[in-house]
Amino acid sequence: MSTDGNHRPALYRLVIAHYLISAMCFAGLAVMMFFAAGNLTGHYFHPQLLAITHMAALGWASLIIFGAVYQLLPVILETELYSYRTAWLSLILFLCGLILMVYSFWNFEPGLLMQCGSFLLFSGILLFGLVIFLTARKNRDDIHQEFIITAVLWLIATALLGTILVFNFRYAFLQKDHLLFLKLHAHMGLAGWFLMLITGVSSKLIPMFLVSKEQKRGLLSWTYYLINAGLIFFVTDTYFFGLNIRTYFAALIVVSGIVCWLCYIAACFKSRIRRVIDLPMLHTLVAIILLSAGIIVLPVIVFYHLKSDPQAAKYTTLYGSLLLMGWISSLVLGQSFKTLPYIVWAKHYQHLAGKMPIPLPAELFRQKWLKVQFILYVAFVVAFFMGMLLKSNPLINIGLTCFLFVSLLYLANILVIIFHQPPTKT
């Protein structure tokens, strides 16, 4: 039997690079938010908010997901990653594109720099998709694989529309309102890419981490079909008719899919044999609460939009923040400490397991720092979102200060894991 293990040096370098750059982007994001605090309660179509959104969605969340998928997919499918060179090229193009895009959004220069940035980003994402599709070509009829592949398809579609929108800034060739396409772009990214991928991957990992007896697989199929059906309906209906009364129905279909996933996760929690909930799983619980809060805001946005009330823009910013800084960030802040320590542990200790006393993966990072990170993150959530609702700048500033410290603690703990050295023999 092959016991060469999960540790493949080429894969290790690739995955670690994604985790590290993502953590650095998170720190950059926190600094950007700190300096843009005054604009966070305004309209979402603001240069600094566009820069922040792309930094959060691409630099912070997507990069770490790329790394996690590169690590997880070959294990699920029992195969090798299709091409490491292509994956590295994808990362380089993606990063160059991201820097150009964020810079040109922040200063709002919708010229050549932004166009080059969007093109590079799209190329990077396309190459990522290529690596994933070719790795998964040996179909194992696995529902988690379906979630990942579909999510990547939505990501490519999101990036393509984003690139078109960048060129539309300068040449205005689209026949309809730019903001209409922005809504489609945002929801293809949020529901198609993030939601599809997170529901798929978490449904594999959460029951494993909790040692859950009950896994209602049927609910996962419902999740998959309802989210996709709702999203396709939303995209086509909104493209032709704009936001309208049917948008509630589209939202209802997607939310039904999310409810199926929540029922699946709740069954896993209820039937868990491992009773203790550790800090990474607590972060996951907070993420689920914030996703639910975002879902509650969704019909409010449609309601105000249909009344042409400017409150719609305020609630849209709140909705986006709940999903990006809330749901996705909390999930990543927790799950990073479930996945990365194991990846590093496999490099240093897998071959020693059973031969000598070795630490567990959970002992590779500073638990106290993670505890402080969690407390500060909860403080951020309370202060920041209350501040947004009440339009209170002092509360927002308190929240953003906590967020800044969260990002620094997270980065420091990630560095502790990556640069972990096994104790030398005396």
Binding site: N6, V211, R274, H351, L352, A353, L360
Partner: protein, 107 residues
């Protein structure tokens, strides 16, 4: 197939004890109490130990670490023996396989 000679019975008992040092790195409990060991054939005459085991799920991210750990403890504990690990998926591992001690440790 294990023959029930006194030597084989002792070897088998020692192999099980050794396997208790192989841990699931995420859960921190040993693979015997996890119920991952399906079969153990020991042969003192031919100096061989064959473990038939499974994982909690196919495509388990910890899979290589767990099966590698089982192999390591046996090679380390029985350097003069041939050790073989056979990974099988039928019957699929179930939570009912966890021993009472394993459940206590997890809770």
């Amino acid at each position: 197939m294990t023959s029930y000679t006194p030597e084989n019975i002792i070897l088998r008992r020692n192999a099980v004890t050794a396997l208790r040092f192989a841990m699931d790195p995420e859960l921190g409990i040993n693979i015997v109490d996890m119920g991952l060991i399906y079969g153990l054939e020991t042969n003192e005459a031919s100096k061989s130990i064959v473990v038939t085991m499974s994982l909690s799920s196919r495509g388990c991210p910890m899979g290589a670490a767990i099966s590698g750990s089982a192999e390591n403890v046996l090679i380390y504990g029985f350097p003069d023996y041939k050790v073989k690990i056979d990974l099988i998926w039928e019957p699929a591992w179930s939570y009912e396989f966890i021993s009472a001690r394993g459940r206590d440790e997890l809770s």
